[in-house]
């Protein structure tokens, strides 16, 4: 039993070791600059980030794509997830509670390739025909939305599908921390004559806020590493655009798209280094989130729901 348990350590170390070893080549050539360097095309003077033929590699567009799509996803998912958690724990009539919780659990279990399939055939056309023109018309002046990309793929579509995917994780964890807040807190606030929202704000959210932040960060961890659904809708071009409707690429996506076809050692090594960065970032993000959630739920053994 101990051996089995220790093997979990071994696996994590093995992953780290292999990734470090296989990314040596790029590490020695580009150093830390790998993540922010911009190369320039000598003929047209346009920036080049990723050119496997000439062995020029910079992860900058992928880091950018990952950050932008994850940030968009969080922006959309946080209010919805917290709203859902509030509804489920504090307002929902008893007979609806468990079916709704079950439904959100299902949402978490759908494989990402199916999200991608749905996004390609349903979500992207919907965004392309109805939402994007609206965004361009009303928010075009910000420069974040321009209509140079007619496909509907891009950062924004990736952000929307990511939001759908991380919603259940954030909301179920938020629910868990909110349940862990002792009932006496709620009763005390109510006894002072507070309305229900004031009770939720002062009695529940204030006590659970660290755990909610933890849940959000865990959602961020998922969004950063999400591969298939994003690969199917982000457009897969190694460029940086300021328009959210433009095609881009993300760290996980570029690995999925190019690894099986990469032939040169340098190309493989560059992709592995992106993987290593992803691995380290998700470990830090998840570890941090785990500690936060732990800080709230520890010591309060699941109180009555």
């Amino acid at each position: 039993m101990l051996l089995c348990a220790l093997s979990i350590f071994v696996i994590v170390l093995l992953i780290a070791f292999e990734l470090v070893q296989r990314s040596q080549l790029t590490w020695h050539k580009f150093g830390l600059g790998f993540f922010y360097k911009v190369f320039s095309d000598s003929y047209s003077n346009t920036p080049v980030y990723w050119d496997p033929v000439n062995e020029l590699f910079s992860a900058r567009p992928f880091v950018y794509g990952t950050l932008v799509s994850s940030f968009l996803a969080l922006l959309m998912a946080i209010p919805l997830a917290v709203g859902l958690a509030i509804f489920l724990t504090e307002m929902c009539p008893g007979f609806l509670r468990s079916p709704l919780a079950f439904l959100t659990e299902l949402l978490a279990a759908i494989p990402s390739v199916i999200y991608g399939l749905w996004a390609v055939f349903v979500l992207v056309p919907l965004l392309r025909e109805h939402v994007n023109p609206l965004l361009i018309k009303t928010l075009g002046w910000t420069g974040l939305f321009d209509d140079s990309n007619p496909t509907g793929l891009g950062y924004f579509s990736a952000g929307v599908i990511l939001a759908v995917m991380i919603l259940p994780i954030i909301s179920s964890l938020t629910r868990e921390v909110m349940i862990a807040v002792p009932h006496s807190q709620r009763e005390a606030v109510l006894a002072l004559g507070a309305t229900r929202w004031e009770m939720i704000r002062m009695g529940v959210l204030r006590n659970a806020r660290i755990g909610i932040v933890g849940a959000i960060i865990l959602g961020l961890g998922r969004a950063l590493g999400e591969t298939m659904a994003v690969a199917m809708v982000i457009g897969a071009t190694p460029e940086i655009h300021h328009s959210l409707l433009a095609n881009g690429s993300s760290m996980a996506t570029v690995i999925a798209n190019e690894y099986a076809e990469a032939v040169s050692e340098m190309h493989l090594s560059a992709l592995t280094e992106i993987g290593l960065a992803l691995f380290l970032v998700t470990i830090v993000v998840n570890g941090f989130a785990q500690v936060l959630i732990w800080a709230v739920t520890r010591g309060t053994p699941a109180q009555a729901r």
Partner: protein
């Protein structure tokens, strides 16, 4: 405070309360909408293209209609079998250790933390690791290494199963009442015996469903298979060769320009999702109905 101002504030507070309630209900509806949309679409598109050929034939060449994903179903089955052989025993063992032998110790906490972290490692990174461990090096005396193979895909999936199996096993074991353990120990049974034949046995329905949940989760994983199992258009049940897998096939077909392949992708998704819904419902049934408490 004058009574008018008091009334105003009081109605403002009631209004805020109402507004928040409406917002929370709206948020719930917005969350449920995509879920319903996905299921309706899957049922609609999948059911209309699901037929016997889907389960019995291999993909037709481009341009011919018909065909199925029989080889991908077989491949997924094989990959999952390899994954289970690796993931289930290690996961269960680790779970038993966490709950029965190391409870409360620093080591157990560290392992629990590592398992949670491992759970959050992106699946694509798991694929990279399996590629680096098994696909690239030709390890002497170890079969299946040195090239793309079903075995490599199975190992990647197996590693992904371990943390899920481990944590659910631990949770299920913690649900076993202490009185059961004490009764066994009170009869003079050695601790290892009591753990294996009393505690684990009591929790076994829960542990089995936990394994099914992990199974269903990895059944839909695509990213770790892209450069380990690679995919295959033909029948193959050889662990040493590239193999087709259902999620991989869905991915390739969804991005293809052919309507017929899109149809197959929807059908494949429906099959996958039915498997997953079954597993999740079963887990929920076992954990909520207190099937485990039958022993107490």
């Amino acid at each position: 405070m004058s009574s008018d101002a008091f009334k105003f504030r009081s109605s403002l507070r009631t209004a805020t309360d109402g507004l928040v309630t409406v917002l929370a209900i709206l948020a719930t509806l917005v969350v449920i909408a995509p879920l319903v949309a996905i299921f309706v679409y899957l049922l609609y598109m999948g059911a209309s293209s699901l037929n016997l050929a889907f389960f019995t034939q291999i993909p037709k060449p481009v341009g011919e209609t018909g065909g199925g994903m029989a080889n991908a179903i077989l491949g997924s089955g094989l990959l999952l079998a390899v994954a289970s052989v690796i993931g289930v025993p290690i996961g269960i063992g680790a779970g038993i250790f966490l709950s029965e032998f190391g409870r409360g110790s620093t080591l157990a906490n560290a392992i629990r933390f590592t398992a949670d972290v491992l759970n959050g490692v992106p699946s694509i990174v798991m694929g990279l690791a399996a590629y680096a461990l098994i696909v690239v090096p030709k390890i002497p005396f170890l079969p299946f290494t040195g090239h793309f193979s079903a075995f490599a895909g199975g190992v990647a999936l197996g590693f992904m199963m371990i943390p899920t199996v481990c944590r659910t096993t631990e949770e299920m074991l913690l649900m076993v009442p202490n009185a059961v353990r004490e009764a066994a120990l009170g009869l003079g049974v050695p601790n290892w015996r009591s753990v294996l034949s009393i505690t684990v046995k009591t929790a076994s329905p829960g542990i089995i469903t936990g394994c099914m949940l992990a199974f269903a989760r990895v059944a839909g994983e695509t990213a770790p298979l892209i450069f380990t199992a690679l995919g295959n258009q033909f029948w193959s049940a050889n662990l040493d060769k590239p193999i087709a897998a259902l999620p991989l096939q869905i991915y390739v077909y969804a991005l293809s320009p052919y309507d017929d392949w899109h149809r197959l992708a929807w059908a494949g998704s429906l099959v996958l999702i039915i498997l997953i819904v079954l597993a999740v419902s079963l887990v929920r049934y076992v954990t909520s109905r207190g099937v485990l408490k039958g022993a107490s």
